[in-house]
């Protein structure tokens, strides 16, 4: 037995922690120390075991093939007739796999997850014991679901994890469920995700219908051997439906609306679930099912376009938001857009690379914002902050590092991965990928302008929060304090990774004629279905450098613009306010997030409510009417039946009785009660008989 043979233990450790904290600690209200020790052991063991398994697998097995561990037979559905008249048996195993993609995901999910567990110990210490246990129970349960998601070797197991993370997301967004808006934010997230999940489920059904298997390896082989493009249509359907699921989970247009509201949850949750891990599940799923997208230009282009448009759309909203977590939320939506943009150009490795680096710097940013909120006593409005640099030095420098990383300044992590995405998009445009070259040029341009906006709004956030003077009043200023070590340690680790993580994992070797230096490219190559015609050197070295310079220039431009608008003293933000006053319509449009929530409210939600009301009316009138009508007709027919019984049946019985009654009134007179009378009748009768006999001469 080796670590990777028992890969399924990785999700089980946190599950055990969740079970203990949820069932024991929460019920008994155990001490915080017990609760967080169990939670840390649960996620820590997952981390250690996960890394040990991945490393051991890397050195002992052929990394070109997924290593599948079947735990037990889960669903035995009997024989079914599928596409092309084939008869296959629907056997789904609870099986897990280690391959490059799972390894990368397990690697960073367990690591970041553990850091955020550690951070939560500091962040949540004000909560009552029971809520504290509930929180850690949910957090561990989330780790279980997320690790099931990334290690599952077939679509149904992935789906279990998928729904599990959705559930935990719902539970944690609504963690402060006494507050109405938190509870409804949780419901919003859940319902919007359900829309996506519907597409995902349909995709699973279609996949089974066409391929007769749901194992990733089986699907991969089927698509790899599909030389006559028999499954091209199926790949488009399944790819698009899978992407509907990804849209919900990874907050892409038009299903992104839940993510900004999800910030109602505790900040470590925003960092872990709604920035670093869960929301990237959609990207993981698209990368995992890349063989469908590789076979379907339509699905690929859809992914790319939705991703590119979302990247810019969310970035524009982020430009003007005043809630520190809202800015980061829209930034997350935007960055997820980049990941899908990469996937849409066939650069799945770049997408996953960005997932990993994004996990580092966005987790760092969210945890930093949590530290800021914690230090400012719950304040989230950046207009009431300012000058926090001197009160919270560690938070400041980690936040600044992560900001530089996301803005795309070399050689930090965000630069490496984002530049890889932009380069791949440009390459796709130049090689006229799938004949959609012009669209990819446009997407590249969108990505570039999104990068400028990212740099702008992130530095706006830094300047407004940490520079200038404190705007929250003297009273609040006294309470501002740096956070305890459990919170700053994860920040420092993540900040270091934001600096070196990008170069370490995915060294941009192509810029130096050092192809193959990028670890993640080599490592993940077997995961992606390649058709061999990939234009590797379509972009010349000079052009590559040109693109790098351009994107760095754009990022610097964004930073400088933010500096000129938000780092001036007298009066503060004068330029920004003047700009907002000059374009009030644009400003209002962005501030109100394009009124998308209102539009959804007026159309889909109001429509749904109207439909429900209509259906309720149908229920009340037609269904209830039918039931009541049946009841009424039963009453009516019983009444008629009763009348019939009373009048006809009883009447007949009574008639017989009456006949006897009347008849006996007459006949009883024969009983004269006088013995000789009877004798006389007898004699008389005998005489009559004799008379008759005499007449007829018998």
């Amino acid at each position: 037995m080796s670590f990777y043979d028992l890969i399924w233990l990785v999700p089980l450790f946190p599950l055990a922690g969740a079970a203990f904290n949820g069932l024991v600690s929460n019920r008994l209200g155990l001490e915080k120390k017990v609760t967080h020790t169990v939670a840390l052991i649960g996620s820590g063991l997952a981390w250690l075991w996960g890394w040990a398994a991945v490393i051991q697998w890397y050195f002992n097995e052929d990394i070109h093939h997924p290593y599948v561990v079947k735990v037990f037979e889960w669903i035995s559905g009997g024989e079914l007739t599928i596409f092309g008249g084939r008869v296959v048996s629907l056997d789904i195993a609870a099986s897990f796999q280690v391959d490059a993609l799972s390894a990368v995901m397990v690697g960073f999910v367990t690591f970041v997850g553990f850091l955020i567990h550690l951070y939560s110990v500091g962040y949540m210490h004000h909560e009552p014991d029971r809520d504290y246990a509930r929180y850690f129970s949910y957090l561990n349960l989330f780790m279980f679901a997320m690790l099931t998601l990334v290690t599952g070797s077939n679509l149904p197991v992935l789906f279990v994890g998928w729904e599990g993370v959705g559930l935990c997301s719902y539970l944690l967004i609504g963690f402060y469920f006494e507050k109405d808006w938190c509870a409804s934010a949780g419901m919003k997230a859940f319902i919007v995700n359900r829309i996506g999940d519907f597409g995902f489920l349909l995709a699973i059904f279609f996949a089974f219908f066409y391929f007769g298997t749901l194992e990733f390896d089986g699907l991969y082989q089927a698509m790899a051997n599909d030389h006559h493009h028999v499954f091209a249509g199926a790949a488009t359907i399944i790819g698009l439906l899978l992407f509907v699921g990804a849209m919900g989970k990874s907050a892409q247009l038009p299903l992104y609306v839940w993510l900004p509201d999800a910030m109602a949850g505790p900040t470590p949750v925003s960092a872990l679930i709604h920035a670093a891990t869960m929301v990237t599940a959609g990207v993981y799923m698209v990368a995992r099912c890349n063989f469908f997208y590789q076979a379907s230009p339509t699905a690929m282009l859809t992914v790319g376009v939705i991703g590119g448009v979302t990247a810019v759309f969310a970035a524009t909203i982020g430009l003007v938001q005043n809630d520190i977590k809202k800015v980061l939320a829209y930034s997350t939506v935007s960055q997820l857009g980049y990941m899908f943009l990469a996937a849409g150009t066939g650069a799945y490795i770049a997408a996953i690379f960005h997932v990993v680096t994004h996990a580092f710097f966005k987790a760092c940013l969210f945890l930093g914002s949590g530290s800021v909120i914690h230090g400012c006593g719950g304040e989230q409005d950046i207009r009431k902050m300012g000058g926090l640099k001197k009160y919270m030095p560690t938070t400041f420098w980690t936040f600044l590092v992560a900001t530089i990383a996301i803005a795309g300044i070399p050689p930090l992590a965000g630069f490496v991965s984002k530049d890889a995405i932009l380069a791949k998009t440009f390459e796709a445009a130049m090689t006229n990928l799938n004949g959609h070259g012009n669209v990819y040029y446009l997407l590249w341009f969108l990505g570039l302008s999104g990068a400028a906006m990212t740099a702008f709004y992130m530095f706006r956030l830094v300047f407004m929060t940490f520079y200038g003077s404190f705007r929250g009043g003297e009273e609040a200023e006294h309470h501002v304090h740096e956070s305890p070590w459990t919170m700053t340690l994860p920040l420092q680790i993540l900040a270091v990774l934001s600096i070196v993580g990008g170069v370490l994992i995915g060294f941009p070797g192509q810029l130096f004629h050092l192809e193959g230096w990028s670890f993640i490219d080599r490592f993940m190559e077997p995961v992606v279905l390649s058709h061999g015609e990939h234009g590797h050197h379509a972009v010349s070295l000079g052009l590559e450098w040109g693109l790098v310079v351009l994107s760095v220039a754009v990022a610097l431009g964004g930073i400088l613009l933010a500096r000129s608008m938000y780092l001036n003293r007298d009066p503060e933000f004068a330029k920004a306010n003047a700009l907002a006053e000059r374009f009030p319509l644009v400003y209002k449009l962005l501030l109100n997030k394009y009124w998308v929530d209102e539009i959804y409210g007026a159309t889909f939600i109001a429509g749904t409510i109207k439909l429900s009301r209509f259906l309720w009316e149908v229920d009340a009138r037609v269904v209830d009417g039918a039931v009541n009508g049946t009841a009424l007709s039963t009453v009516g027919s019983s009444f008629i039946s009763g009348v019939f019984d009373l009048k006809v049946v009883d009447g007949a019985v009574n008639l017989v009785a009456t006949i006897y009654d009347v008849a006996s009134r007459w006949f009883r007179r024969l009983q004269v009660g006088f013995a000789q009378g009877y004798a006389m009748v007898m004699v008389f009768g005998a005489a009559v008989l004799l008379g008759i006999f005499y007449v007829i001469k018998l």
């Binding site: 009983q671 004269v672 009660g673 006088f674 013995a675 000789q676 004798a679 006389m680 004699v683």
Partner: protein
């Protein structure tokens, strides 16, 4: 030669007398006596025809009738005693409880 006609005529007269007595008399004992009269009328008839037809069965039957009449008389007298005990009378029209 002795013929049967006078005996049959006698029997008829006796029977009618008994029948009338049975129907018109109110005294239970008289009614019982009338019934005896009718029995004996029948006996005379039986014997007359037995003699006439030279068949002894008629006479045997007459003996039977006498036997039955004795039993009948016993029951009848028993009824009379019961009636007397119940109503303190032998008048038949007093026993009319069964009138409908």
């Amino acid at each position: 030669m002795i013929t049967a006609e006078p005996y049959v005529a006698l029997s008829l007269i006796l029977f009618c007398l008994g029948l009338i007595g049975l129907m018109v008399r109110r005294n239970f004992i008289t009614v019982l006596m009338s019934v005896e009269l009718m029995f004996n009328a029948v006996n005379i008839n039986l014997i007359a025809f037995s003699f006439r037809l030279g068949d002894l069965a008629g006479q045997v039957l007459a003996i039977f009738v006498i036997t039955v009449a004795a039993a009948e008389a016993a029951i009848g007298l028993g009824l009379i005693i019961a009636l007397v005990r119940l109503k303190d009378t032998v008048a038949l029209d007093q026993a009319n409880e069964m009138r409908g």
